[in-house]
Amino acid sequence: MIPADWLPVIFVGLMGLAVLIYAMLDGYDLGVGIMLPLDNETQADSMIASIGPFWDANETWLVLAIGLLLIAFPQAHSVVLRELYIPAAIMLIGLIMRGVAFDFRAKVAVANKPIWDKSFKLGSLITALAQGYMLGMYVMGFEQSITAYLFSGLAAFGVAAAYCYIGAAWLVMKTSDDLQLRAARWARRAGWICFAGVAAVCAMNPLVNPEILARWLSFPNALFVWAIPVVCFALFAIIDQVLKRFPLPDDKGCWLPFVGAMFIFLFCFSGLGYSFFPYIVPGQMTIWESASAPESLQFILWGAIVVVPVILLYTIFSYRVFWGKVQDLKYY
């Protein structure tokens, strides 16, 4: 048996893992959706084909993340979703638009296809913006002030840019020729915006929250945690240099921007996590204050210990099956 005090820590860790995997995986397919070109049907088809086998499973990580919040921290779940009622509703509409557009565009009369393409693009953008806005409001502790709204607005664009960044990097890896070059250009531009966004959050966050500033300045942890932004910024620079040199001979290293972007996501996420732990609602509620009953957490934990590795295994298997450059997708 696991001590009851540890259960909330384990669950917040699991939830963090789900959020991180969600941001990386649905991040790239949302990014691909945002960048969907309306002027080139062949490229649009290839881009959609590159995410076709994955988007649904990617989105499931969001369901798991919100599910874990609901299971393990029901009090926080209520507070968070009450505060974020409107942006959550808007995000859901965005998710609906893109989720169904994906299937409709392949099945409707050719004349209607552009409508669903637009719906896919717009839905992806709405989803990304809404998620960014919610992240901003969360970081600001759901404060209702001009500063908070401005910050959340910026966060909305930051997250959309970050998704475009990882999405473009995904396309660089999965496509070739003209589309790959186009994606490399997108990736560079999105990378710069993203870099500016991360730098802004690094500067803003400690200034707004003195508690976080103190935490980032306290020795000896500081020695370790300051590596996070440093490595992060170095990665931005390296990826930018790689992207500049496309097309690469034999396409060697086409995976580098994507893997690099994944690490940037990982570092940014750890930085945020480090800033807020053990709060589940920043400044208001800790994980222990809002946790469910231990017997419920135990019950789901055993399942999770068995099932999560299996999920990871078959997810990897599915990526293996569709390894390599994208091919036309056909419904068989």
Binding site: D56, E59, L70, L92, A106, S292
Partner: protein
């Protein structure tokens, strides 16, 4: 506050009504797809593969709509019904969690391989992927029905400081109404998918499709329906007896029994009058309700008078129940008639084909009606005897709920119209596609381009 409550209820009802349409197709359709695939694997007869290819597209589209509307629903627990999670979250949470862990990931991951992987994995693995998706959709139903049944007939818990705590998980999952409800729901899905398949296949034949494919799927779905429909009536009867034992107020509303009586008639039609607590224009079969429910002509049925303030609104439950049973009877008749005609003449008469087209969505009507019986029938409680719906609702101001409600409704109406139109469009397009046989093209497995790429790219 009442406005937020009513709006939230309507919004949730709209959401769940929209959502349930799609799992009610996909759960059973996926098993039918697996059946087609296995028949193909063993016989190598291309007609099975063509059936698979057409219906897997319908599956993919229905699945996508189910996924997006399902995510919307899971968010509403938090946005509109925070009291639900605060009070019974210790029980509802893990059940929902197991649904995500054991079902969602399984179906979502193997869906990719099922839809797009046929040339990338060996045939047996593709069939396995289809089976795993089918298993995933069914597991999903298992967990969600476990939770819903627990909300109807809660056991295996104790209240501490006003919060439900789990005592016996086995009892919680396999609560008294769970087995009946699960089987009833799975059979409903089987019927919904069968009649959808029969309707669309009949439509293709009426549009001049003389290939083997639509005839095969029509026959398969009719035989399937002919077995399931009467089974469903039987299971429904057992489910009713179980409800009488655990939720007699729901039965009283379903049967329109205002006052406890012996030898109650089976009302075929009536207009329940909530204000005067009586029915108008009753048409009934004497003593039949008592006989069906207690297996005794003079059996006593508790009336709504025994549950003052604790019983559901009568009219919607009463009418929904009659719609469900009526459509169910129609299904039995249509399926048996179809099988009979097939056995005698090898084909269906044009009027029956037209009738089946009209019944394409009969499963939806029956499922929704049945869902309303059970869900409205639980009111005023969200969790019977533990938590009322009014206690669970959010404190979000009505204006915000209006906003989300309007957004959802517009989206759902557009999607429903698009979905139905697309199904029939796909059917019309399939009529025009040439049939390629293995004799003409030995590499048909890879090269049936005509069918595979006729606008279906990505």
């Amino acid at each position: 506050m009442i406005e937020t409550l009513m709006l939230s209820r309507i919004q949730f009802a709209a959401n769940i009504s929209f959502h349930i349409l799609f799992p009610s197709i996909t759960i059973a359709l996926c098993w039918l797809l697996m059946y087609f695939k296995i028949r193909f694997d063993f016989s190598q007869d291309p007609v099975w593969m063509r059936a698979y290819r057409f219906w897997v597209k319908v599956f993919a589209l229905s699945f996508a709509l189910g996924v997006v509307s399902g995510i919307t629903m899971s968010f509403q627990f938090g946005t509109n019904w925070p009291g639900f999670m605060e009070k019974v979250g210790n029980i509802a949470g893990p059940l929902l969690g197991y649904e995500v862990l054991t079902a969602f990931f399984l179906e979502a991951t193997f869906l990719g391989i099922m839809l797009f992987g046929i040339n990338r994995v060996p045939p047996w693995l593709h069939t396995t992927a289809t089976a795993l998706v089918a298993l995933g959709t069914t597991m999903s139903a298992f967990w969600i029905i476990a939770l819903n049944s627990w909300m109807q007939t809660p056991v295996g818990f104790e209240m501490r400081d006003g919060v439900a705590h789990a005592v016996d998980w086995w009892a919680i999952i396999f609560n008294p109404s769970f087995p009946y409800r699960l089987v009833h729901v799975l059979l409903a899905s089987g019927l919904t998918a069968s009649f959808l398949m029969a309707g669309i296949s009949a439509y293709r034949i009426l549009k001049g499709d003389d290939k083997r494919g639509p005839r095969l799927t029509l026959k398969t779905s009719l035989i399937f329906a002919a077995i399931l429909a009467p089974t469903q009536a039987l299971v429904g009867d057992f489910h009713g007896l179980n409800t009488l034992e655990h939720q007699p107020q729901k039965i009283a509303a379903m049967e329109g029994v205002w006052h406890t009586e012996k030898g109650a008639p089976l009302l075929l039609f009536a207009i329940p009058d909530e204000e005067n607590r009586t029915n108008h224009f009753e048409i009934g079969i004497p003593k039949m309700a008592s006989f069906i429910l207690t297996h005794d002509l003079e059996g006593e049925i508790k009336g709504l008078n025994e549950f003052p303030g604790e019983h559901p609104p009568v009219a919607p439950v009463f009418y929904s129940f009659r719609i469900m049973v009526g459509v169910g009877m129609l299904m039995i008749a249509a399926a048996w008639l179809g099988v009979w005609q097939l056995a005698r003449k090898k084909e269906l008469s044009p009027w029956l084909l037209k009738g089946l087209v009209l019944m394409t969505f009969a499963g939806w009507v029956a499922t929704l009606a049945g869902w309303y019986v059970t869900e409205i029938g639980r009111q005023p409680y969200l969790v019977s005897g533990v938590l009322t719906t009014a206690e669970a609702v959010t404190t979000v101001p009505p204006s915000k709920v209006w906003f989300s409600f309007t957004l959802y409704m517009i989206t759902y109406v557009v999607l429903l119209v698009a979905y139905i139109r697309t199904l029939f469009l796909m059917a019309r397009r399939a009529v025009e596609i040439e049939e390629i046989t293995p004799e003409e093209n030995p590499n048909f497995h890879q090269l049936d381009e005509n069918l595979a790429t006729s606008g279906e790219k990505a």
